[in-house]
Symmetry: C2
Subunit: 294 residues, 2 copies
């Protein structure tokens, strides 16, 4: 997906929110804003929005002096999700369709996105999980189930911390020996990295690799060789979250996107409403690749 | 009022909306966006937001190739307000407090602001006028009435087209020989200029001058000598709209601000809610001149 003009004011808003989130120092906040304005002004709009997100958060980290400014909320949401885990595990166990229930909970967990909302609290997650099972979804979990059943190599692209505990519930429904779970290569917003996969208990279930990149998505040309090999070798990719959607929506590969639509540009690109739960094969989405900007 | 960090993403959103409003050409829209990002990145934040608004709309005019891209909506809203005028004039006439009723209608008319909303339609104006007489106001029209009664020189700073027809209703309640009405020096967004004052019939009532500037507010150091003389000679200034508030809130002068609060930063600066009708003497407002940015 390219960057739409509507993404541009949103980048600046996100940069301001990130600057305020990472430092109370107004001089630093202003430096971040000015640097981001300059960077966005030069941006190649053919690239996907997470490429700019990556750049913005490099600026935020540089000026805030912290390599992982979201560390505290990352740990907090991992712990909170782990607290919910036993009850949700029980819910999945008792469900008539365990695969579907686990997939829905994992997708609802995609609400934990500090790139979209830095003021997120636990009640938002409780509500998203609570509503997950009754909401209409965009796509077909049955189709995903069928694709998983006939696959030999499944690459599961994680997204955020906290959320990956819900991913664990879903991964427990997949054939462990066929799954590779991938995290980001280094800290970016509240996205999950290797230590989060360890905390969430995913490393005990399946092979986990990192993608070698600090983009809040999957910018293939920047990823490590090992990740890229796993990507192209997989029969099916399960890609969580908006960032993975934005960066991979144009790839010619069997991808299922699992996300909660939180941004108007992405919702329009997918052809769904904000708030919708999407569990859909790329080829089934009405991708408006050449949608105009006006 | 200084420019707050929250104004910065809003500038970019406004620039995009203005670019889309003035041209369907996406290449031009992108040029405007990039030029505005660069300009905002260098901006002196001690200056008020309309100084940047002025700059943004100079860029919009330069790239769109039109000296007055809002001409059509300006004429449309003048005509629409003139259509409403006879009934409103009658309403004022029959009102137990004509001064108050006219002041409220004039202030409600401040909703016609294309800097804030380029998708404004007539129903929004109808509703604003309809609600004007029943809404709680911030400030005191009685105080304004008293100040007007004891003044010898009243300078009335207009704001938008359409709105100035409602201003005419209020000006009819003021001592005509004591009033100077001021408009912008040249086209900026949908702000009123001399030809609009003629169309609205204000030139038949009182002396009208232009301020010599293309800022969407009153940037004194840029205004003409004649305007500045009128400004400093006045006993009382009646300043309409957010732009005049933003540019004059720090001036040591007897100013009454009449506006409809449409932006969260201004509402917080004034200490009111979005949507509030404000008719208040500057000295009565809890101006947070050194309010921090975080």
């Amino acid at each position: 997906m390219k960057t739409y003009y509507d993404c541009i004011p949103c980048f600046i808003r996100q940069a301001l929110e990130a600057a305020r989130f990472t430092t109370p120092d107004e001089t630093v906040q202003e430096l971040v804003l000015r640097e981001v304005l300059y960077a966005v002004g030069k941006m190649d709009l053919k690239k996907s929005p997470p490429v700019m997100g990556q750049h913005i958060h490099r600026i935020v980290r540089k000026f805030s002096g912290s390599n992982d400014p979201y560390k505290k909320v990352k740990d907090h949401f991992n712990k909170y999700a782990l607290k919910l885990y036993p009850a949700l595990k029980e819910m999945v166990k008792k469900s008539p369709n365990q695969f579907e229930t686990a997939a829905l909970i994992a997708t609802a967990g995609n609400i934990i996105d500090f790139g979209v909302n830095t003021k997120l609290d636990q009640s938002v997650i409780d509500k998203a999980i609570e509503n997950a099972l009754s909401e209409q979804i965009v796509g077909s979990i049955k189709k995903l189930h069928k694709a998983v059943s006939s696959s030999k190599k499944i690459l599961y692209l994680g997204d955020n911390t906290g959320e990956i505990v819900f991913d664990r519930l879903f991964i427990e429904q997949l054939p462990a020996d066929k799954v590779i779970f991938a995290v980001r290569g280094s800290p970016i917003i509240n996205d999950a990295t290797m230590s989060d996969a360890v905390d969430a208990g995913i490393t005990d279930l399946v092979r986990v690799i990192d993608n070698g990149s600090d983009a809040p998505g999957t910018v293939l040309e920047e990823c490590s060789d090992i990740f890229r090999q796993s990507f192209w070798a997989a029969d099916i990719i399960i890609a969580k979250g908006q960032g993975n959607y934005e960066t991979l929506s144009n790839e010619n590969k069997n991808i299922f996107f699992l996300l909660k639509a939180k941004c108007p540009v992405i919702a329009e690109h997918i052809g769904c409403n904000i708030g919708d739960i999407v569990v859909s094969q790329a080829t089934d989405l009405q991708l408006k690749k050449n949608k105009p900007n006006s």
